[in-house]
Assembly symmetry: C2
């Protein structure tokens, strides 16, 4: 399998965690989104029409983009360990938390948005920082409420990692890098720290990737 | 079942389409997000800790937020018609397109983001309009490429509607309201128009909801 990834991309990081948890080997294909590598015509035409990272190309030649679709696919084809539960009640909670992170938090703070704010709207560094922290704070407050109501540690939902943890970890790691404060999210941070202690989560971290640069 | 919804919310609209396609009855519970109804303490505590719309409360008392999680749940419990295919190859394409819309297009243009741009960053009406149209154009270009590569009409993927159509229709309807141009997306618009001709899609439209106002 090939994984098209950028070391600092949270959505790539989600898929790297899943591949590591399942023990799947893959060729790492770096796509430098800082210089527009995701818009390279050959990449868009042959690998990912969405023109984003991540994407996978399986050994059977299936190309697939969008981290949540990729993870659903990997979970069906390589079900050990199962990351999207089959039990309907557990499944609903895992997908709810994953969607909250993937739809309500991550998209408004990714690189292209921050670049647009800076380059096209001319916001100051302080305004950009406030924007980032505002959406993280609003989103993590919701994560914390969901975990308070439905969560059961030590992972987000019970004794084993799920898709929820695979989405949570990159989001928190990103927010740590941006200097956010996490005092109000004790359950969220407990789940994060628990996951980070696992070798699979550690191996997927940005600094462990071949395209990592400071 | 109860559906907590705002007439103009694209994510609520997705769930309304699914409920209509499956022929499920529900009580419509309006949440006016324009005046912060989604942050009402009783709503957050009792219905949706995410503090957004939509949310459902089933007849068994299950409360669930996040449109994609709700649709997955409804599709498992009321599988006629199936909207998230079981066949792995079809399923991957449907989830990829749905994720593209739900993660890459919708979140950066919803009400809270446009309000922040206007109220906190003081962008002009022209800048806000350009922001909206920029992300729609970038997103729909990706939708069009995905459909060109993997789609098969008359719906996004074949002869019956799927989750992809349930996400596409509200996104296009929203973009139409905002005056976007669709000339570059013929396959996307053909799928949109085909879906809009179905009574279930028409019944879910904002103007058909009890909380609709001009």
């Amino acid at each position: 399998m090939q994984l098209y990834s950028f070391f600092n991309s949270s959505t790539s990081y989600r898929v790297r965690i899943v591949l590591a948890l399942k023990g799947l080997d893959y060729d790492y294909r770096p796509v430098n989104i800082r210089v527009g590598g995701h818009r390279d015509p050959a990449y868009v035409a042959e690998v990912n029409p969405s023109a984003v990272v991540p994407a996978i190309v399986t050994d059977d030649g299936v190309t697939l983009g969008q981290s949540l679709a990729i993870i659903d696919y990997l979970d069906a084809h390589h079900p050990e360990p199962r990351l999207i539960p089959e039990d309907p009640a557990e499944r609903a909670r895992v997908l709810e938390l994953a969607s909250l992170i993937a739809c309500d938090i991550h998209p408004v703070n990714n690189l292209r948005i921050l670049k647009y704010l800076q380059d096209k709207l001319g916001v100051t560094a302080e305004e950009k920082d406030a924007w980032y922290k505002h959406w993280v704070a609003e989103g993590l407050a919701a994560v914390e409420r969901l975990l308070a109501r439905y969560g059961s540690g030590p992972f987000c939902f019970g004794a084993a990692p799920t898709l929820a943890d695979c989405c949570l970890v990159p989001q928190i790691a990103n927010a740590e890098r941006m200097g956010c404060n996490f005092d109000d999210y004790p359950k969220t941070m407990a789940a994060y720290r628990h996951a980070m202690a696992l070798p699979a989560f550690a191996a997927a971290a940005p600094k462990r990737q071949p395209d990592f640069v400071q």
